[in-house]
Structure formats: C-alpha cells, structure tokens
Symmetry: C2
Subunit: 80 residues, 2 copies
Amino acid sequence: MRVSVAIDRRPEIADPEGTTILRALKELGFGEVASVRMDRVIHLEVDGDDPDEVKRRVEEMCKQLLANPVLEDFVVTVDP
Amino acid sequence: MRVSVAIDRRPEIADPEGTTILRALKELGFGEVASVRMDRVIHLEVDGDDPDEVKRRVEEMCKQLLANPVLEDFVVTVDP
C-alpha cells in the first residue's frame, strides 16, 4: 500500500528555510508572497492488507523515527 | 491565497535520505516497509484575487527558485 506522511513544523516553531525562501522570492520580484513554510512529505510503500493496521504501524514509525513530536505534527494518509 | 507546492524528486533520481530512513525502519522492526521517498512541500500565502494568475506566478517561482527542473517535478495547488 502507498502511504503518505505529511510532516509540518508546528506554527510556533521558526522555519529558517522558509524565511530565506521568502526573502529570495521578494528579491526576485515576487512581492505578493506574504509567507513561506517548508515542510516534508514521506512517501512509503508498505506491505499489508488492512489499511487501518497499516496506518497504525506508520503512525508508530512516526513516533519512533520519522517525526520529531516536540517540533512537528504529522498526518498519515493511506492511499486507496 | 494559500498555495501548496509539492516538489518530488524524479523517480530515476536517487534519494539517499529515503534510503537511510528505509534502513533505519527495518532495523527498528518495521520489515513491512518496501520503499521510502522523502519529498518537500512548500506552503505559501500569496496576495491575489485570481487563482489562475496566482498559480501562474507560483509556477514561475518554481522555475526560477523553488524547484530544480533537472532533478525534480512540481505540482502547484491553489487552495480554495
């Protein structure tokens, strides 16, 4: 099964990469950009038959390795 | 307007970060994972009234700065 994990920094956590991109876009003439956040998506291919069980296992992977629970929120989506 | 830009490495381009995560997951006992790809999502807040024009401008930002057209594909989505 294909699984996507969207990992976003929490809103109150600074995003230096996004801030740098915002400044660069303005210097290139894209003055209409008000904010930029850079986040991650992890695409996994996981063996399994039960979407609920696959989702539960991937959430466990997030807690143990993929995400930093202090700084980041994650959303696991099992593709149909 | 909120705009999301999904930037994925082309399938034929190696993803060392994904490969490292795959190995670590297997060592942690998640043997059911067959592949891992790590990609980026950029969330922008852009001033504008016309979704088509906003999308066109963000695609221009991708070509000039956000994406590497040799290694990456991008998809721009203007949130409703």
